[in-house]
């Protein structure tokens, strides 16, 4: 049953999220609230702590202070695989595919938390384990095909041979395969030309239309993407959140211009 609080409560929330490495505070007291179905972009200069924020949410780093809540539950300090299993999927800035495996295997591994068979099933009940994997493979093919028929045509080739834009696409397919509630994309357009970026925007739009409940958290530099996709934009500089709101409002804020262009340019 859907109650008012279900829709109002954020799916992902960080409270005072902070991590310091030695003397350097990489992420400093960040409060985020990502609503269901919301698309939020995180922007900020290089080294602002955006990727560190993702690593904190996905459990790769343990915060020095603060909390991460998923669907109202505290998930701070949980192991990475648990956080993935409860429904937070992600991609990486420098795409991390399983290069020596086929495209289809990559997506299938993304379904790890949605399949059950263990060692004993594989050894003693091979028919059942096989059937489960075959069914998963069918879903994996559908996901690949839905994202890009060209990618689907190459499903039995090795991921390591893919060009950059397709690597990003495959990473998104792998993330979608886990049927997440939140998907975090770390600079999906990096290394792409304009044409590829347009295609990427199209891909994300299509996924948004197909999975209406899915929330997006996207780190991005490409302003065309930031201008078109998100409901809200959060700006991070030196580890702290300095602004949040509509792209149109954000871009004219002096603090944001200062962060991006430097002190002098903002004063000029």
């Amino acid at each position: 049953m859907v109650t008012a609080s279900d829709t109002a409560a954020p799916i992902l929330e960080t409270r005072d999220l902070t991590i310091s490495f030695g003397g350097l505070v990489a992420v400093n007291g960040v409060d985020l609230r990502l609503a269901r179905s919301e698309v939020m972009c995180i922007i900020g200069p290089n080294g602002a702590g955006k990727s560190t924020l993702f690593n904190l949410i996905s459990g790769i780093y343990r915060p020095t202070r603060g909390q991460v809540l998923f669907d109202g539950q505290d998930i701070t300090g949980k192991p990475v695989h648990r956080i993935a299993a409860i429904g937070i999927a992600r991609t990486f800035q420098s795409s991390r595919l399983f290069n020596d495996l086929t495209l289809l295997d990559n997506v299938l591994i993304g379904m790890h938390t949605r399949t059950r068979s263990g060692v004993l099933d594989a050894l003693l009940r091979p028919g059942r384990a096989r059937a489960e994997l075959d069914a998963a493979a069918e879903r994996a093919e559908a996901i690949l095909h839905g994202l890009s028929p060209a990618l689907h045509a190459r499903r039995n080739t090795l991921a390591g041979a893919l060009p950059q834009a397709d690597r990003r696409r495959l990473e998104i397919a792998r993330a979608l395969a886990s049927e997440p509630k939140v998907i975090m994309l770390d600079e999906p357009s990096s290394g792409m030309d304009d044409r590829d970026t347009d295609a990427l925007i199209g891909d994300v739009r299509r996924v948004m239309a197909e999975k209406p409940g899915l929330s997006f958290l996207i780190i991005e530099h490409d302003m065309r993407l930031v201008a078109t996709l998100p409901d809200r934009v959060t700006v991070i500089d030196y580890g702290s959140k300095i602004a949040e709101g509509d792209y149109a409002d954000i871009r004219v804020m002096p603090r944001v211009q200062e962060a991006y262009l430097g002190q002098r340019a903002a004063n000029a």
Binding site: H81, F98, L101, L104, H112, S117, E132, D134
Partner: protein, 393 residues
């Protein structure tokens, strides 16, 4: 029909040609192995090696040939299995009653099991475990002690020893999870040495003298120490253990295939390629690594048990660090995560040092040179990992 499907259909060989390819390859392999086993002439052995080297050089230059053979075996799968089974069953009858050749085959098959066991770690998950020899020893000692002191039969000792070794495997796996790569390798080396030292120093393991008088297995009243009579043919007593170890190889192949083509095999491959990315897909990396240690120990203990009951005398020196290194070499030479390749690697590295006696003092040097040559010339091993196929496609 799309263009790619048409292309594939035209590349698919005719059933008859596939069958002919399968028969030719399997018979050629059987005949060459027989020549190899029965020859005492170093020149013949070297010539056979050169022939094999040339074969693999050809595959390296013309990968299409390898693809064609793989496709043929895929097409005529049942025939390949059937013929392979018949060859294995009939093989002892064509060895001129040589018990030495059978002995070599038994040892090669046991090493094939060990290499397949290690492949779950090294090949599938890239865990450098230098303690497979220790698991082999734990299996051998457990079953031997059970048989000598409690009169427990081989058939019961076999699974019990495997379970004991698996527990030790998990015990090793647990502290290993705090380390990675070279450090993990060091932990496993230490574990292997500790086991060797314990076997050497406990009084109840017989110390350096080991255990003697392990009784031969008995099946339906037939003792494995007696010659095997089939259809009026008399095979040396080694034939019993030949068939036993062949069955063990078959079991290992079956397990390897099933695990490779499963969610578990996928998870192992994921953490081999990129551990952090694997964790982000929800894979519990610690559990899957420990699982690999457990499966490795389980199969290695099977091999150890058969070995103990075959030679009826074991000592700590059968299960040294060098044994583990040899097993590792077999996996590297054969090809990571390719069942056939790993078995071929095991056969080559068991039989070659035996046949090339001139090298017998330089066994370790030989193994090292082989590893270096392979890592430089053919880093993927003799055969590469094959792609998985789903839905019967």
């Amino acid at each position: 029909m799309s263009a790619t499907e048409e292309l594939r259909a035209s590349a698919r060989p005719s059933p008859l040609r596939s069958l002919a390819t399968v028969i030719a390859v399997e018979l050629a392999a059987a005949v060459l192995l027989r020549l190899f086993l029965l020859s005492d002439d170093t020149a013949v052995i070297v010539a056979l090696l050169a022939l094999m080297g040339a074969g693999f050089a050809l595959l390296q230059i013309r990968p299409a040939i390898e693809d064609a053979i793989v496709a043929a075996f895929g097409e005529a799968r049942l025939a390949a299995l059937l013929l392979g089974g018949i060859i294995v069953l009939a093989y002892p009858f064509f060895l001129n009653g040589s018990s030495y050749a059978l002995h070599l085959l038994i040892i090669a098959q046991l090493y094939a099991v060990l290499a397949l066991a290690l492949n779950f770690q090294l090949g599938s998950a890239n865990i450098p475990n230098f303690a497979t020899g220790a698991s082999y020893g734990i299996g051998a000692y457990t079953s031997a002690l059970l048989a000598i002191h409690f009169g427990i039969s081989f058939w019961l000792a076999l699974p019990v020893a495997a379970l004991v070794a698996t527990v030790f495997g998990f015990l090793l796996g647990f502290p290993s999870m705090r380390t990675k790569e070279s450090y993990l390798a060091l932990v496993t080396i230490a574990f292997g040495i500790v086991i060797h030292q314990l076997l050497n120093n406990f009084s109840w393991t017989g110390g350096p003298n080991g255990l003697v008088g392990i009784p031969a297995p008995i099946l339906f009243g037939h003792s494995f120490a007696r010659p095997l009579e089939v259809f009026g043919h008399r095979l040396p007593s080694q034939a019993n253990f030949y068939y036993l170890s062949a069955a063990l190889v078959a079991l290992s192949i079956l397990s390897a295939r099933r695990l490779h083509d499963s969610r578990v095999g996928l998870a192992w491959n994921a953490l081999r390629a990129d551990e952090l990315a694997a964790r982000c897909q929800g894979i519990n990396v610690v559990w899957y690594k420990m699982l690999a240690f457990g499966v490795d120990a389980f199969l290695a203990a099977f091999a150890g048990t058969v070995y103990a009951f075959y030679v009826s005398y074991i000592s700590p020196d059968n299960f040294t660090f060098i044994v583990s290194v040899t097993i590792m070499t077999m996996v590297i030479v054969g090809g990571m995560d390719n069942t056939l390749g790993v078995i071929l690697g095991a056969f080559l590295l068991t039989l070659l040092p035996e046949k090339l006696r001139i090298f017998s003092d330089y066994r370790l040097l030989f193994v090292s040179v082989v590893v270096i040559l392979f890592l430089v010339l053919r880093p993927q091993g003799l055969f590469q990992q094959r792609a998985r196929h789903y839905g019967g496609k």
